[in-house]
């Protein structure tokens, strides 16, 4: 687990380290940039030791703490890695950080604390597997994940795999996967407090401590969040042809207050010479009003002033990892987890004709994951042969729909073979997936990486993936207006992509220059869509084939140590192949430009421009939300970074900051019936000692 000191050192050395890696690469032809070889070895990490890259000079030393070792990722995959500390003192949440990455759209169903789901390369929310410390946290009911329930302050990093991840994540990863990692103890004790507050009665606080006590490493964290959520929003009419629109005054979001308390505990210790055992638990309690849709014609705009929900989630996990186990593998990791979710929903009804709703749903998931990698030479190539076995049992206990259970078992085998000093990499693999009641599936995948020049990498992938329908889609009881469909078939998809990656440590005055561009295509068979089957009833159905095509461009550069520019653009074209109509919910393009000015570790100002293209929001694609540009800015200063302020010596960081989101106060919606806040200001502080 890296910490602030580690991070500060790492930031200061990153450019040099990249230069070093690049020089190594130039000389020896080894991998670079996001190569897994840059990750410290578990043995070293487990000891909390400083890991020195081979051939690096002292200034290029990278200091790390204990980090969950990562089995070698597929080298051909298109991956974005986010270090959450890059967003220090910016008041961002998980959804915002993910949504800024190339290829990723986050569909928000409101403001801070309101549900949000991740779409990768035009996928649905349920076609993305979200993992927390390697454990899938998608809802067994809907298949999607509400990332608003996660707290950025407790996370260390996120790794986004774009374009399907059948080998690594298995069932559900049609669009890709997001692997979130919680903060882990480092070599130096860390204490941290983050407090922020601002618009709409929103506050958030994070408390962290991580340290070692003899052979034991431990970390404990708390994250609290609350908001009144009472923002005012515009209600534009749907404009048709020459008809003048109806003007409706803005109204206030009601019954939108929410609180969330999350905490995590981690205990770890070495087990002999080679192994490392970690226990972690992540618990979240949330309670919120359920304002519903902005869709009615009543004075409240159809919002529900009375409904509420209360939820508890807990994820407990044991993990044991080891290296150099001989015949048993060179990198071994096994984990057991249990996940519990409970959701109480109450709605007494709004109008006199409504009938009260009260429901309780509980979900238990037990899972086992084993990851093993053997490294060897054969056929003039270096091989990393990986075996991944996963099994999980989801059990849903619901007073509305009865009790249901399903077992999934997956076995994946993959091999990363590197020839010509890693200039050519071939990464074939296959996953066998057995899903109770739905059958067995083989999911082949192959990737190729060509590295003709040290700073240029060409990647291509083709793979098959699938998503099993969720329990709600299958078994939701017939409520008259909505019901499940037990005859649903899984969604099956074929993903293909090709792209180039350029990375240069220096180019004239520019530093840390990187560029990535690629095109992708995803063909989905038997898309699952909620379809009206009568004037009054909807149920999910397989609607046939669909296709998503697009391109991604990402660019990053630093100019001196005071200026950093990040920009990315994703273009998307999606359509149902049977109707030719666009798939709803996907913006046709999304662009981000982020300019950071400042001296890292001391002060920074950040300006962001986030443009979202038109979003079709109806099944025909005929109703379009307008494109929008949202400007945001923040300014932060680390008082501990200025000796003249004479801060206590123990303070390593003392940031105070001001952020302003949606500066021009534009109306923002990702869905037709879900308004988002306008301009919002926040202040905060982050202190570490």
């Amino acid at each position: 687990m890296s910490h602030r000191l580690d991070e500060a050192i790492r930031r200061r050395t990153r450019g040099a380290w990249r230069a070093c890696v690049l020089s190594l690469f130039c000389g020896a032809g080894v991998a670079f940039g996001d190569s897994p070889t840059a990750t410290p070895t578990p043995a070293a990490a487990g000891a909390g030791a400083e890991t020195v890259e081979p051939g690096a000079i002292e200034d290029e030393m990278r200091v790390t703490g204990v980090r969950t070792r990562r089995i070698v990722e597929r080298p051909s995959a298109f991956v974005s890695v986010i270090e959450t500390d890059d967003y220090v003192a910016e008041q961002k949440d998980v959804a915002e950080v993910l949504g800024e990455q190339v290829g990723v759209q986050v569909r928000r169903f409101g403001g801070p604390g309101e549900p949000a789901e991740v779409s990768i390369r035009g996928s649905t929310g349920s076609q993305v597997v979200i993992k927390l410390d390697g454990v899938r946290i998608n809802s067994a009911l809907s298949g999607s994940t509400d990332v608003s329930q996660l707290c950025l302050g407790l996370l260390e990093s996120a790794e986004i795999t774009r374009g399907g991840d059948p080998l690594g994540s298995g069932e559900g990863a049609i669009g890709g996967s997001v692997d979130l990692r919680t903060r882990r103890p480092g070599a130096v004790p860390i204490n941290r407090i983050e407090v922020s507050g601002g618009a709409f009665g929103t506050w958030e606080t994070t408390l962290l401590r991580s340290a070692r006590a003899g052979p034991l490493e431990y970390g404990i964290g708390y994250c609290g969040f609350g908001t009144d959520g009472d923002y005012t929003f515009a209600r534009p009419d749907i404009e048709v042809s020459t008809r003048p629109p109806t003007t409706r005054p803005p109204i206030e979001r009601i019954n939108n207050e929410s609180i969330r308390h999350a905490g995590n505990v981690l205990l770890g210790a070495d087990t002999g010479e080679v192994g490392h055992l970690v226990f972690s638990d992540f618990v979240t309690y949330s309670k919120r009003g359920e304002p519903g849709l902005d869709s009615g014609d009543d004075p409240l705009g159809g919002q529900n002033p009375y409904a509420s929900s209360e939820g508890v989630q807990n994820l407990a996990r044991f993990e044991w990892s080891a290296d150099s186990l001989g015949w048993a593998g060179d990198q071994f990791e096994a984990s057991l987890h249990h996940r519990y979710q409970r959701l109480d929903f109450e709605d007494p009804g709004v109008s006199a004709n409504d009938e009260p709703v009260s429901s309780l749903t509980q979900t238990h998931t037990f899972g086992l994951d084993v990851d093993d990698v053997w490294s060897f030479d054969a056929l003039a190539a270096d091989h990393d042969l990986g075996l991944l076995v996963s099994a999980r049992r989801d059990a849903v206990y619901a007073d509305e729909s009865g009790d249901r259970g399903r077992t999934n078992v997956g076995v994946a085998l993959r091999n990363d073979a590197n020839w010509l000093d890693d200039r050519v990499t071939l990464a074939p693999g296959v996953r066998f997936e057995w899903i109770q009641d739905l059958g067995a599936y083989w999911l082949p995948a192959v990737g190729v990486v060509l590295t003709p020049l040290p700073w240029l990498r060409i990647k291509a992938n083709w793979q098959e993936s699938l998503r099993a329908p969720g329990f709600d889609e299958l078994y939701l009881p017939d409520k008259g207006f909505i019901r499940g469909n037990p005859d649903l078939l899984p969604e099956q998809a074929r993903n293909s992509d090709v792209g180039v990656v350029l990375q240069l440590a220096e180019l004239g005055p520019l530093r840390d220059l990187s560029f990535e561009g690629g095109v992708f295509q995803q063909d989905i068979d038997e898309s699952i869509v909620w379809v009206p089957i009568s004037p009054r009833t909807v149920e999910p159905n397989n609607t046939g084939p669909a296709r998503v095509r697009g391109f991604e461009l990402a660019f990053e550069v630093a100019l001196t140590r005071f200026l950093r520019l990040t920009a990315n653009h994703t273009g998307l074209q999606s359509e149902s192949l049977t109707t030719g109509r666009p798939l709803p919910g996907r913006a046709d393009s999304e662009s981000l430009v982020r300019l950071e000015i400042g001296e890292r570790g001391r002060w920074k100002t950040v300006g962001e421009m986030h443009r979202t293209g038109e979003i079709p929001v109806s099944p025909s694609g005929a109703i379009l939300l307008p494109s929008r540009i949202v400007w945001s800015a923040s300014a932060a200063i680390n008082l501990a970074g200025f000796d003249a302020l004479h801060m206590p010596g123990r303070l390593r960081e003392f940031w105070i900051y001001l952020t302003l989101s949606n500066i021009s106060d534009v109306a923002v919606r990702d869905g037709l019936f879900f308004p988002q806040p306008g301009r919002s200001g926040f202040i905060g502080t982050e202190i570490e000692w």
């Binding site: 379809v531 009568s534 099944p619 025909s620 694609g621 202040i683």
Partner: protein, 544 residues
């Protein structure tokens, strides 16, 4: 620590000033930064998905009608935001014809000075489990009863709204709640003005306490008296205002009285009766409950349509379509029927039984000659028909205790049924249409200008069946089924299979333009709603 010596208190305080300033200044700045998201809200736009259709601009329209006396103009009621849309239907697709912004329905829709939610709550109509309920009018059927005034039913805050067809504005009229007299009890109309008074309102409340002679609901259970009504009798409050009809100075309003949507239980069906007053131009200026007969109970459950009909003999009737109990999934739970109400006596004189037919919501289609009435079906791909000649029998209108059932089993009275649930007129299925179970059918029907052709929309198949009615031979009694024949099927829209989701589908509520196509007009002659994927008003020329 400076040079190894501890700073004194003053020095520490001075050093902390920048810190506190640093915290306070952003605090003040941050707290005032709350926008409304109203700068350049952008236009949410809707484009047509079919060249014959114009989008309504919302999820689905609640109804539409052609204006009397100007059959090239139609009005439709948009559901969200509620508002009256005008269309020029002389072209295909229909052209939006609103001259200004579409006016919404205000929070005080009936103009009684209180927001509807407040008035409803103060009147004590919120259920005990939800004493702070919020109620507002959810617009329903559209009835262009007059040249320049349209009647729109609303449920929730039960009422009939009066809207001007030119602007869509609510029309103020004089609403009276007569003093107790006859069978009228002023207290049974809690949202009308106080007893014996009048007030200028923009709607007439249909929230009424009624007292059925047999207080049994559609499940067969004995009803519990509503606390808002006369405690000495078993009464209930009318709900789900469904349809209107006007005959002379009488306004008839059907209320379905769905009691529990989750259990599909209906209270007895009712037809509320009001008296209208008009100005010299024939525009309504006043309305009040009929004192002598404020309500008529229907013989079956769930009245959903009201049709005014004048028999060839000149007798004015109201035909009330009763779908029967039906659940929200479309499962039929009770028999359908059409009640015949004599306008002169304001009583049910006869009933036309249909069996387990799921008679379609809405009006009957009656040919200009007054020979037959057709109606479609909920949950079936069928049409039903009656021989209206049976309604010209003077014996039908003689005083008697119970309505005559015109099923051929009542001695002395004809069997008016041509097609019913046992022998329906089946529409042909489209080969590429959805299988049973993937779509619950809904059939609606309209007749052309001379009654020689019927057009039946098929919700599931997206088709319009053209049925020929042969009037060339002398009429027999009852009318022979052989006069009805399926002429052709126009597969105008996509069948409602899952793979077609997103294409224009699910047509309903056909209406034909008055006049002879090709002689009186050149444009489209058939209009209908297309409900999926979004609401659209469509026009087609089907008769040449």
């Amino acid at each position: 620590m400076v040079n190894g010596t501890a700073p004194d208190r003053t020095t520490r305080a001075r050093r902390s000033i920048p810190l506190w300033l640093g915290l306070l200044v952003p605090l003040v700045l941050g707290s005032v930064c709350e926008g409304t998201g109203s700068n350049r809200p952008g236009a949410i736009t809707q484009s047509p998905v079919d060249p014959r259709c114009t989008p309504i601009g919302g999820p689905f329209p609640s109804g539409f009608d052609l204006l009397p006396g100007a059959s090239d103009r139609a009005v439709a009621m948009r559901f969200i935001p509620a508002g009256l849309l005008r269309f020029d239907v002389s072209t295909s697709p229909p052209a939006p014809d609103n001259t200004g912004p579409v006016l919404g329905i205000p929070a005080d829709s009936d103009g009684d000075g209180l927001d509807d939610a407040v008035a409803f709550r103060l009147a004590g109509f919120c259920p005990s489990l939800n004493p702070n309920c919020l109620t507002w009018p959810k617009v329903g059927s559209v009835h262009a009863a007059f040249r320049d005034v349209v009647l729109v039913t609303a449920s929730g805050y039960e009422e009939v709204l009066f809207l001007r067809t030119d602007s869509g504005a609510l029309l103020p009229i004089d609403v009276t709640n007569p003093a107790d007299g006859g069978t009228h009890r002023a207290a049974d109309h809690p949202l009308l003005p106080p007893a014996g008074t009048s007030a200028l309102r923009t709607a007439v409340s249909t929230l009424t306490c009624v007292y059925p002679p047999t207080p049994i609901d559609s499940s067969g259970a004995v009803m519990v008296p509503a606390p808002q009504c006369d405690a000495t009798r078993t009464g209930f409050v009318t709900r789900f205002t469904a349809a209107t009809a006007v005959v002379g100075d009488l306004l008839f309003v059907a209320t379905s009285n769905l009691f529990s949507s989750s259990r599909a239980i209906f209270h007895p069906g009712t037809l509320l009766i009001y008296r209208l007053e008009f100005d010299g131009a024939g525009r309504p200026i006043g309305v009040r409950p009929d004192v002598d007969t404020p309500v008529v109970f229907t013989t079956a459950f769930n009245p959903t349509g009201v049709t005014a009909h004048r028999t060839p003999g000149g007798r004015d009737l109201i035909l009330v379509t009763q779908t029967g109990a039906i659940d929200s999934g479309g499962t039929l739970l009770g028999d359908s029927a059409v009640d015949v109400i004599d306008v002169a006596s304001l009583r049910v004189v006869a009933t036309l039984p249909l069996g387990l037919a799921g008679a379609a919501f809405g009006e009957l289609a009656i040919d200009p000659g007054g020979h037959v009435a057709l109606i479609g079906a909920e949950s079936r791909r069928s049409l039903y028909a009656f021989d209206l000649a049976a309604l010209d029998d003077p014996a039908l209108y003689a005083p008697r205790a119970a309505p005559v059932t015109l099923d051929g089993r009542t001695p002395g009275f004809a069997d008016a049924r041509i097609f019913d649930a046992s022998i329906p007129f089946e529409l042909s299925r489209r080969p590429d249409g959805p299988p049973d179970g993937l779509c619950a059918p809904r059939t609606n029907v309209a007749l052309n200008h001379d009654g020689s052709l019927a057009y039946a929309t098929d919700w599931c198949d997206g088709s319009i069946s053209v049925i020929s009615l042969d009037w060339s031979l002398p009429l027999e009694r009852p009318i022979s089924r052989s006069r009805f024949a399926l002429a052709r099927r126009l597969d105008l829209f996509a069948p409602k299979t899952p793979s077609n989701f997103g294409l224009a589908a699910a047509p309903s509520l056909p209406k034909t333009r008055a006049g002879v196509p090709g002689r009186d007009f050149d444009g489209p002659d058939l209009f209908f709603l297309v409900n999926e994927p979004e609401g659209q008003l469509c026009a087609a020329r089907v008769e040449f």
